[in-house]
Structure formats: C-alpha cells, structure tokens
C-alpha cells in the first residue's frame, strides 16, 4: 500500500514535470486570444499599469509641475491676489490629481517595505497628518524643504494651509523672526511646491519605460527578475492598496465627519471641519476621485481589463456584477447628490437617527450618510467575496505565518 502511495506521489510529480509551467510569454496577445492563468493575471496587471496607474502618475506630475510654476509666481509677488488665486487653482488640480494615486499605492508609491516601495507618498501628501503650527513655524523661519522635513509640515496638506488659511497664531508669536509673513509663507510654499514636483516626477519616472521601468516589474510579475515573484503578489499589492477606500475614504473621510463613526470616540458628532480639504472645499471631489479610481481598477479603463475580468474568468460573474453595480450606484450618488465640497453635505446632517437610517438604506437624506452606506456595501463585497474568490491579500496579511 505504501508502495502504491509512493508511486502515486511520484506519478503526480512526473505529471507535474510535464506541465510546462503554464507558458511564459507576457507579451500582448491579440484580441480574442484566450489568456490562461498567470498570463491572464499579467494581462490585467499590464492593462491597469498602462491605462490607469501610469496615466494617473503622468497627470499628477504634470499638475505638480504647473503647481510649482504657479507657486513660484506667487512667491515672486505674494501681495498679488491673482497670482495667489492661480496658485490655489493649480493646487486644486494637483490635489485632485493625487487622489487617484492615494488608492494606487503600489510599487514606488508604496512604503519602503513593500516590493519596489520608495516611501514617496508621505513626501507628497501625508494626510491626515498636518500640524499648522509646524508649517507656519518652518515658513517663518525660512526653512528648507527636503526629505528630512517633517511630513506633517510639507506636501499638499501644508500647501492647502498656506494658500487658504491665515498664519497660525502660535507660530506667528513664537517663530516670527521679523520678516514679512506673507512673503515668507509664499516662499515656503514655493519650496514645498518644488519639492512635490520633484517627487511627482520621480514617481512618474520610476514607472516609465524610459526611466526606472517599474511597469516592467508590474506587467511581467513573476518573470524576468520582477520584484514580484508571482503575478498574484502584484495583484495582492493592488488589493491591499485598494483598501484605502475602506479605511481612509469610508472611515476617516466620511464616517468621522458625519459623526456616525466612533473612531476611537474622537468624532462625537457631525463636524464639517473634519472633512478632507476642509479649507479648499474640494472634499466631495476628492472622494469621487477615490471611488472612481477603485472602480477603474476593478472594471478596467477604456476597454482594458480589471479585477472583475479575473472574476469572470473563473465564472464568478455573480460577484463581479454585484460589485460593479455597487460601485456604479456609489459613483452615481457622488455625481448626483454629493457636492464638490462634502462639508456642505455634512453640515446638512441634523439628526443622528436620520443619518443611521440613510446609511442602512444607502439612500435618502442626509445624502452624506447614504454615501457612507453605499461605499460600505461595495467595500464589504470586496473585502469578503472578491478577496476570497481571488485569494487576494488584505492589508498586513503577510505578518506572521499561517496554518
């Protein structure tokens, strides 16, 4: 009997050796060509890399360049309101261009302990960390901006404060060294803008074929010395990144300001001041950018493939259709019910009971609470059914062993 068992094991190995490894390739097959297994996973990664991630990085790099120029002009003439307004406009464009990248923190945009990670994200936008006192103190003391600068006093968050808010009173009294406050703040903003532009360019170039070519690691995961040993590892990185919409968009940006989320009991009631970009008034647009990016990663962009194709490829169209519908409903709600400034929608909340009801019903008023319900439904489906069907990673799953 043992001999039979061993024979069976040897046979399995021999058969395995004949398997051929599922075919390498990794090139772009023609339309209509069936893609199997890892080739299918790589095709999805390639499409998302070329049609979603790289364009998002290019858009942001361009916006950051324009922001740098606008801030430079503002620093040349701090008293010129038109220059300041142009700087604000450029900042809005850049901030909204960065919101998709928040949801796509893979590769160089990821933390240094992740494959290809370069820790660039916090240097550009360290939300929710921002300390107004530090920002103005550094500005008034003429500090330089580099990678050693406190992340809560630089980046897009610091620029919002510098462009939209008056000088912090404590900083004004404790850090003022006698210069013109408006000039010093505009100059500091200029240095922050230049630093952001440099990081944005670095991020774009890290993915560019003519640069560090991370797109090759991404699209050819599991092949040719890619930092990802398997295509699944790259998909896991993407999956982990997409959970931004759950933890940051849903919990931090919506549940806390609306007062329905306890968040360590630190968000006791609806408070419009807790929304992201409360000064600039673009929190609704930022939320839309987050969800739209998630939807693009799931459904693909411009006819390209996304995660839902992987579900359909294993005959789990039921899950794909469900999440597609939930995301469409969420985006529709954002388009039709939520304003560019989510703070306005939060301010309209006048009843906790109504808010809870709207969250449960995923409809009705207050619309901000219904939005929470819609995103929650979509993320619950992602966290449970999509993750399970595709064996995707959730954040921090790699900590420790299994059995």
């Amino acid at each position: 009997m043992i001999a039979r068992a061993s024979l069976a094991a040897l046979l399995a190995l021999a058969l395995a050796a004949c398997g051929g490894g599922g075919g390498g390739g990794g090139g772009n097959p023609g339309a209509g060509t069936p893609l199997l297994g890892d080739d299918a996973r790589r095709a999805v990664l390639a499409d998302l890399g070329e049609q979603l991630i790289r364009p998002a990085l290019a858009d942001f790099a361009q916006a950051a360049q324009a922001l740098d120029a606008a801030l430079d002009a503002h620093a040349q003439n701090p008293q010129d309101n038109a220059a300041k307004l142009q700087a604000r406009q450029a900042w809005v464009t850049a901030a909204l261009a960065f919101e998709p990248i928040e949801v796509l923190q893979v590769g160089p945009a990821a933390m240094a302990d992740q494959p290809g990670g370069q820790d660039l994200r916090d240097l550009i936008y360290a939300y929710p960390r921002r300390v107004e006192f530090q920002i103005d103190c550094l500005a008034l003391s003429g500090a330089a901006v580099d990678a050693d600068t406190r992340i809560d006093a630089m980046g897009l968050g610091a620029l919002e404060h510098l462009l939209y808010a008056p000088v912090n009173a404590d900083a004004a009294s404790q850090c003022d060294e006698g210069g013109d406050v408006a000039t010093l703040r505009a100059e500091y903003a200029g240095r922050v803008g230049a630093f952001i532009a440099a990081q944005a360019a670095a991020l774009r170039n890290a993915w560019a074929p003519a640069g560090e070519n991370f797109i090759a690691d991404w699209a050819q995961a599991g092949q040719g010395g890619s930092v990802y040993a398997r295509p699944q590892d790259a998909l896991d990185a993407l999956s982990t990144a997409l959970f931004y919409v759950e933890k940051e968009s849903k919990d931090r940006k919506i549940a806390c300001p609306t007062g329905i989320g306890a968040s360590g009991l630190s968000c006791p009631a609806a408070d419009a001041a807790r929304v992201e970009f409360a000064l600039a008034g673009i929190s609704g647009a930022a939320l839309r950018a987050n969800v739209a990016t998630f939807q693009a990663a799931f459904a693909g962009v411009d006819g390209g493939m996304g995660l839902n194709d992987l579900l359909r490829g294993i005959e789990r169209g039921d899950i794909a259709d469900k999440l597609d519908a939930q995301l469409a409903a969420t985006l529709d709600w954002l388009d039709t019910e939520i304003g560019a400034d989510f703070a306005d929608d939060v301010a309209a909340i006048d009843s906790n009971e109504a808010c809870i009801n709207a969250t449960s019903a995923r409809a009705g008023e207050p619309v901000a609470c219904a939005l929470h319900g819609r995103i929650k439904a979509a993320m619950d489906t992602f966290r449970s059914e999509v993750v399970a069907a595709l064996s995707l990673a959730t954040p921090d799953r790699a900590a420790g062993d299994n059995d």
Partner: protein, 456 residues
C-alpha cells in the same frame, strides 16, 4: 536536540522579522483566550526579553544544558507568548507548546548533551524509557489523525475547497506550476492530503514501509511549505515523525556516517563510530531498569493528558452546525488549513438615549487582527465587549452593540455570521452553544474552473 534547535532558529526568525512589534506592540487591543484573560502583553522591552528568554531556553534544550530548567522555562514562556493574543493562534504553535510540555517530563538529555557531559558517566543513559517515546508518538500521531479526519467533509473532498482558491496563484512555480490551475489537480491534492493524513502514521508504524513513508512525509511537507506560508510547521512535522523510527536511529546514522568517511577523515570517522556506540555510554547495572516503567502518578498523568488530547478535538460535536462556520471547537483540534474565510465587519452601537454610532474594527485593531477576527465569532464578541466598556467609560451609559458581519466561507457568497438582532453587549463569553451565531450557508461552495480570459 533537533526540537530545541528548530525552536531556537524559529524564535530568532520571529524576532528578526519584526513580528514582535507587528503582532504585539502595534495593536492597542489584544484578544484573550477564554479563561486566560489574565495573560497580559508586556511592553516592548518585556516582549523582547520574553522572546529572548524563549530563544535562550530553546538553545538550552538543543544543547541539553540544564535541560529540565530550559524545557520548563521554554514551555512556560512559549505558552505565555502564545496566550497573549488569539489572533496569532496557529496550530503548529499549539503543537510546539504540547511537545514542550511533554518534554518537561521526559529525559532526552541523558546522552549527547551538556548535562550528560557535566554530570558524568554514571548519570548518562543510552536508552530512553519506552513509555517516553510512546507518549511522543501518541501526540504526533494524534495530530495527523485529526488533521486527516477533519478533511472528511464536503467542502474539502467534494468541492476541493479551499485548495481550489489557494493553488491557482502558484501557477508560476517550477515543474508543477502549470498544473495548479487545473481543477482535477485540486481534487487530487485534496484527496491525497486526506488519505495521507489518515494513513501515514500507520505506515510509519510499519517498519518495512517506514523509510518510504518518511519520504512521502518529506515530499508532502515540502509541498505545503511551497504553497502556503506556514512557517516552521513543515519542518516541525518532519522532525516530529522521526520519533517513529527506532530510537537508536541517530546512533546508526552516525555509525554509517563514520563508516562512510573518506580516508583523509578517518579520525573523524572513528570518533563518529565511537560516539555511535552504546558501549561508550556505560550504564550502571540495574539503573536502566528502574527508569523503564513510569511511576504510578506519572502513568496517571500521561493517561489523563492523552485522554484530554483525544477528546479535545471532538468537542465541536457538542455544538450544532458546521465548525468551519461557527468555529466553536475549532482551535486545539488540528483543523489545519481547512477554510478560506474572508469577512467584513462593523458594529452598531446604540446608546441609551437612542443615539447610534458605527464602530469600525479599524478603530481598535491592526489590519492583520481585523483580517483574522472577522471570521471568528468569539473574537467578534470580545471586541463588542470592549466597545461596550469603552462607551461606558466615556460616560455613554449602558449601550447595546450589534454586529454587522458578512463572511465568505470557501468562496461562497458572503452571508451574515452574527445575528444582527443580537445585542452582543449582553451576551456572555463562554463555552456554551452560541445562538447568536447564524446557521452556516447551506449552499455548496463553488469550484472555480481554471482562469481563462479573452483579451479585448
């Protein structure tokens, strides 16, 4: 020796990977085992001292240096560490803890050890009393026995789940990777694992089949090491089944090595042969016989231990429903790698004045803890109690806590795992049947075909 060495390396690996920080320092909240709520998590310094102590004791066990102190210290410290947070529960950690407990009562240090060298020839022994080897064999065999019969259920055998979910992403693996997307391979692996687990100990007990059976064990655990991130488990099991070989296998191995030494190393060869010879370890007349039969109290203790270990994995029968779903009786019962559970959870907290809040697990847990606990009802209950207590401490009074819990088991559509009407704040944690856990989904899990896309 091998056990201590492996534990020493394993503990260093644990520390080097930064898991002390990630698993114990970073979380603000730790889940407790029922009856062990008193186990607290020390601060960062204490944690590092704890793990340094485990490593030191493991080294002592490996070297046979102050063995009794080392193994008791190892068992106490290791078990304490494992009791600190339920979300870090692993079957193989539990197995290690049990082996360490058994080793506290055995005397494997009376040969080839610092203690044997230190205490002199009169104390040394060439043999281990048979009951000691038998106890170890029982524990190892029990693990395989229950791990095998736990696979005797529909998801595993009839639907090849969760292997059907877990294996395809490994398609890029050399040699066998191309097959891992094939459904028949998932079934083959599932059935092979079932048959392997339930029969392998029988083959290990059959002297003639033993070498071949050991080779199959090595192959099996190499595969599990490749496919799943199960850390030291495969190594532990390969070492553990060595107890089924004749007790003198290390001596025979040394003798063979000694004989196989080339001429240039003939001195080393002679030394190995000498070390392998029992004659090099004189046993005082009568001393061996006195230790071959355990004292009555020892025998009673071993029997009680074995009975408990035999019964413990059966306790899930006391709970109606599917253990993979309700998890009552899941731990400490060798249900290894049987389920893919992915869950989404939030709590609805209703204050006495009717004010309602939603609490996300993110507010309390690390992402890893959240991932682990979302499919385990007793942990969902524990966090509900913590939330209740926090609201009370913040002056919000006696709140009601409801769980909105959606779980996908082995690829099934997500279903509610906790009764949404059950006020968990009022549910007592305990070993009784939990009627606040919903019935498991009745539908069979889907078996996914190989991934196939058509390029657009």
């Amino acid at each position: 020796m091998l056990f201590g060495g492996l534990m020493f390396v394993g503990t260093l690996r644990f520390m080097a990977c930064g898991w002390i920080e990630r698993l114990y320092v970073e979380p603000d909240f730790h889940f407790k085992y029922w009856g062990f709520a008193w186990v607290s998590v020390p601060g960062p310094v204490g944690l590092h001292l704890l793990y340094a102590g485990i490593a030191l004791c493991a080294l002592g066990v490996a070297l046979g240096a102050w063995y009794r102190l080392s193994i008791v210290g190892f068992w106490l410290l290791f078990s304490y560490a494992e009791l600190m947070d339920v979300t870090t529960y692993l079957n193989h950690y539990y197995f290690v803890s049990l082996l360490a407990l058994i080793l506290c009562f055995l005397s494997p240090h009376r040969a080839w050890s610092v203690d044997a060298w230190r205490r002199g020839p009169a104390w040394r022994r060439d043999t281990l009393p048979a009951w000691q080897g038998g106890w170890l064999r029982f524990q190892v065999g029990l693990l395989y026995f229950y791990a095998g019969w736990a696979k005797f259920e529909a998801d595993w055998l009839l639907h090849a789940q969760p292997l059907n979910i877990w294996l395809p992403p490994h398609e890029g693996l050399a040699l066998i990777g191309g097959l891992l997307d094939e459904v028949w391979v998932h079934y083959a692996f599932a059935w092979f694992a079932f048959v392997f687990d339930v029969t392998i100990i029988g083959f290990m007990l059959w002297r003639r089949a033993r070498p071949l059976a050991f080779a199959v064990i090595v192959l099996f655990h190499v595969l599990t090491h490749i496919f799943f991130e199960i850390g030291l488990f495969p190594f532990i099991m390969v070492l553990a089944v060595l107890v089924y070989f004749e007790p003198d296998w290390p001596r025979r191995l040394l003798a063979r090595l000694g004989a196989a030494m080339p001429r240039g190393l003939s001195g080393l060869g002679a030394r190995l042969r000498a070390a392998a010879s029992p004659a090099a370890r004189p046993v005082p007349a009568g001393a061996g016989a006195a230790t071959t039969t355990p004292a009555t109290w020892m025998l009673a203790l071993v029997l009680a231990f074995c009975t408990l270990q035999f019964l413990l994995p059966l306790r899930h029968w006391a709970y109606p429903g599917t253990v993979l779903w309700h998890e009552q009786g899941m731990r400490f019962s060798w249900r290894v790698m049987l389920r893919e559970k992915a869950g989404a959870l939030s709590y609805r907290v209703v204050q006495p004045d009717g004010h309602t809040r939603l609490v996300s697990p993110h507010d309390y847990l690390t992402p890893m803890q959240y991932q682990e606990m979302a499919g385990q009802p007793d942990l969902i209950l524990q966090l509900a109690h913590r939330i209740r207590d926090d609201f009370a401490a913040a002056g919000h009074g006696d709140v009601a806590v409801y769980a909105d819990s959606w779980v996908s088991l082995n690829g099934r559509p997500a279903a509610r795992m906790i009764d949404p009407q059950a006020d968990l704040a009022r549910v007592k944690d305990g070993l009784g049947r939990a009627d606040w856990i919903t019935a498991a989904p009745q539908q069979a899990p889907p078996t996914h075909p190989p991934l196939r896309l058509v390029a657009r």
